[in-house]
Symmetry: C2
């Protein structure tokens, strides 16, 4: 897999979220140390407050979203970079009228998700 | 650093390349396992054939480029994902009239660059 069109990668619905889909652009069995995923949140969609045991490195590609990291809520747009440390509660919400889309990279380590809301 | 605007991160010229700049969006001292960098190649710019001792996970944000990975040359555009395995020779060239911009993520491991061209 040297080059791949992201739009051709299958979308999977994220069960604990609303109107939110994940694509594994570079899955953990292809990238030796970390995985590249793309999250698409439809208008009205969001992910409830939760924690992960791994950190997230994220880059907004499209749309407008609210992202809470710990006690702070941020409004983000394309070109914004988010770092969510391991174990810190966070949530997302699409606050625009188009898809809210961002890359989300995580290390290839066991991840336990705990939904808090 | 929970949220950061990529456009506000300082640009550094890459010495071995032409008209090419790197930004450390999430530098290795902030991301515990891998770093998020953004590469901007001006029209006419490029990076010569080289190897790294670490793999690259990349996502094209803007413009049109040629990317060689091993013996294959690919033409890439926004939304294309590239995986460059550790040690494989690769080069880049902006073949458009606007900036060619892509994210390039690497693990936090020692990296030795060898220019081959």
């Amino acid at each position: 897999m040297p080059v791949r069109r992201a739009d051709e990668v299958p979308y999977q619905e994220i069960g604990a979220a609303e109107k939110t889909y994940i694509q594994f652009l570079i899955p953990p069995d292809e990238g030796p140390h970390f995985a590249m995923r793309r999250i698409t949140m439809k208008p009205g969609g969001g992910m409830p407050k939760h924690t992960n045991t791994v950190e997230h490195e994220q880059y907004v590609l499209q749309g407008r979203g609210q992202v809470a990291i710990g006690d702070e809520v941020y409004e983000v747009q394309p070109g914004d970079v988010m770092f969510i440390p391991a174990g810190v509660p966070h949530w997302y919400r699409n606050i625009g009228e188009e898809d809210f889309v961002f890359l989300c990279l995580v290390p290839n380590l066991p991840d336990e998700v705990q939904v808090l809301a």
